[in-house]
Structures are given as structure tokens and as C-alpha cells.
Symmetry: C2
DNA sequence: ATTACTAACAGGCGAGTAA
DNA sequence: TTTACTCGCCTGTTAGTAA
């Protein structure tokens, strides 16, 4: 069944319920295989009940049949489970290693923060200790915003990956340096305000991040 | 890339970010191929950067690598577009052909309606003319509730597919006979009340169905 | 137990071509 | 132009084993 997923996807993209008028040669070039392979595959797929097909001397009409749609649907459901969105992430306030504070304050970053995140960052990061897998799932389900690298006369500052979040309700962003200095069990948060004061946070206190 | 989708899915199902401890033989039997094929494929996938792999004389550890996750994610996004949920469906009130009215009133169906849909149906159907493709998309994004067939001494009554909906805000259900008597450009609605009166509906009036 | 090499084999692929 | 058949080739698969 998975043998045909590429062709199934190709048809489905043009319309899950539409009758596609095309030709084996066209599909062949789109999928980068030979006309003969497409012809054979489509006939096989018809036999399996994945598609309905009508071949004429000047083209071919295809629609997904019930089994084809069901297969894609089932496959889609599996992916849905795999990518199940994590909408919250909990962690504990942790002592910063101090590095982030310096970097995020730099103008080369601040301009981009303002433009891409909508705020200038308080020059310091709040470090939060989280479960690494939970963090990955959480980050995975939010949109990555790229912050470009830049150089001064002295040195180069690397690119950052940012993810907009709310922390205890306040807007902020997770910042992940491309070249991470620590593992992903500690994440760094920036925000337009000094979060420790604003939220009255203390060491080891629990906080909740949301999308 | 699609060559490896089955194995990628297999790994991802066990945990998108987890290190899977398993063996080539185990995967082989789960995917119904030979141990050698799994071994070769995993090595190839590692070369392509789809997974990270650690093989020992007593098993193998696998994690999805960045490229593998990206591929699945991209694929997932394509499916998301394909199955984009239609949350509303508009149509025009149409004269019933009258058949439905008789059937839905039968006890063999009514008991199941009560149990599975939560209401006994007013013995009549409201017929709505809709765009066939829109209808398919709409039905496709709502859950199918199966109503079993049953027999009397005289004859057999076929199975029905039902889909819970709201029509102009009132709870009801679309009923599709397994053996459709008319094309899918006309759909039949049942509800606990007589919809024509309740909603003050007239021929050719526009109505809105929602999930 | 494992993984993975080698070698034999089967089946899929595409070039050529008929209809 | 099409689709689709035949057939040779080559790739991917598996059986047998080594490590």
C-alpha cells in the first residue's frame, strides 16, 4: 500500500474528490519516473481499488476511490497522533549561566527581535529547566522564527531560533542559539520586561509556558 | 525519500524524539520484510541523515534525525492541506422524494438513532441540495456513525451512515443510505423535531449546516 | 543473541514499440 | 498524440553465513 503513497498524494493534492484529467507522461515527469511505470502503477492501483481510472488514446482520468481515500486518511490520523500538539510546557526557574544576558542585549539582535517578535528584549534571559522531550514536542508545535547572525569588527554572533510563547500569561519568546552551549534541558526566555520582577519569580519556582 | 516512509513512520510512532531500543529482526517482523532489508535500509537512512543509529551485537538503537523529522513534518503539512477541514456546508431546501420519511420512522432505525445520535428522529427527512464536492469534504471531516441494517418478516432495511450536524443551530444528522437512491448532490437531514416548521423553512431557502 | 556481508534471485523499471 | 505491451536490465530483496 505504501508503495503507492507518492502517486496517491500526487492525486490527492489536486483534489481529494476531483476527477483529474491528465496523462501518464505528465504524471511521470512530475514524479520523475517513466511513463511506463506510471501506466503500470495506475493499473495496479485500480485493481487494488485505490483509484478509479479511465484511459483513452488522448489522456487519462483518475479519481481516488474509497480505499485510496481511507488509506490516506488513516495515514493522516497516524501522523496526527505523532505530531500531537503540546500546548503547554512546565519547568522550573533556574539560575542563568549569565551568557545569554549579554548576547540578547546586542543591537544586532535587538533590531531583529523588534521586527520579528514585536518587542525589544529586556537584556537578560530567564532560564527554565524542563524535560527535554517535552520541550522538543512543544517547540516542534510552534513556529520557528529565525534570527540572523551578524558580525562586529571583533567577532561573529550566531543565528538564533526563536519561538513566541507566553509565560504565566506574559508575551515572550524561547531563544535557542544555533550552537547551543548547554543541552536542551534548559531553555532561555526573553521578554520585553524583566520577568523575575514582573512575575515575582524565585529560584526553583514552577512556571507554565503556553503557545 | 518516500522509499523509507514506512520505516520512518514505524520509528516515529514509538516516539518522535525517543531513542528506540530494538533489533532489526523485530522491525523486520513488524513490517513484514527480511532482517537483511531492515539492516540495509537503516544503514542507508543513516547515510541520508534521516536517522541516527547505533548497532551493537545485541540490538540496535535508533532516533529520528533532523532530516527525518523534517520530512515527516513536511509530509504531514501536505496531508493537512489535503484534508483541510470544511466546517460549514450551505445548501438549498429541496422537495423530498418522500422515501426517507417512511424509512427513518421505522423502529429498527429509531432505536439506534436514540442510542447513537441521542435523539429519536421526527419521521421525515429534510432534503437539501448541495455541491457534491463540498458535501464530500464536509462529510469527510465529521465522524461517521454507522446505523446497522435490520430485517422484518417482509424485507431487509439497509445500513445507514449518519453524521451529527447542526442545521441553523439545531441538532440533527445527515443520513446517507448505504445504497444511495439519489446522487450525493442531495443530502437528507433528520432531527428530533420537524425542521420545516421549527425553522420556518420554505422551498429553495438557503440553510447552513455546521459540525 | 545480535548485525551485516556475499551471492543468488526475483521483481520492478524503462526502452522500444504496437495499437 | 495517447496507453500499454514485451523484454532486457538492473536494483532491491532475501537466504546463507561470518563475526
Amino acid at each position: 500500500m505504501y508503495d503507492y503513497i507518492e502517486i496517491l498524494m500526487h492525486i490527492a493534492k489536486k483534489g481529494l474528490f476531483d476527477v483529474i484529467k491528465t496523462s501518464t507522461l505528465k504524471i511521470a515527469s512530475e514524479l520523475d519516473v517513466s511513463q511506463q511505470t506510471v501506466s503500470r502503477d495506475l493499473r495496479d492501483m485500480e485493481k487494488l481499488g485505490l483509484i478509479k481510472r479511465e484511459a483513452t488514446p488522448n489522456g487519462i482520468s483518475i479519481v481516488l476511490d474509497e480505499k485510496g481515500i481511507d488509506f490516506l486518511k488513516k495515514h493522516f490520523n497516524e501522523l496526527n497522533k505523532i505530531f500531537e500538539r503540546k500546548k503547554e510546557l512546565c519547568g522550573l526557574i533556574t539560575k542563568g549561566i549569565g551568557e545569554g544576558s549579554y548576547y540578547v542585549g546586542l543591537d544586532g539582535y535587538q533590531g531583529q527581535f523588534k521586527k520579528k517578535l514585536g518587542f525589544k528584549a529586556y537584556p537578560g534571559t530567564l532560564n527554565i529547566k524542563v524535560d527535554e522531550k517535552d520541550a522538543l514536542s512543544f517547540l516542534n508545535s510552534s513556529e520557528m522564527i529565525g534570527i540572523s547572525d551578524f558580525s562586529t569588527k571583533k567577532r561573529t554572533y550566531g543565528t538564533l531560533k526563536c519561538y513566541k510563547i507566553k509565560i504565566n500569561g506574559i508575551n515572550g519568546a524561547i531563544v535557542v542559539p544555533e550552537r547551543a552551549r548547554h543541552g536542551k534541558e534548559i531553555i532561555e526566555i526573553i521578554a520585553p520586561v524583566y520577568l523575575r520582577d514582573k512575575l515575582g519569580l524565585k529560584e526553583n519556582q514552577k512556571v507554565k509556558l503556553s503557545l
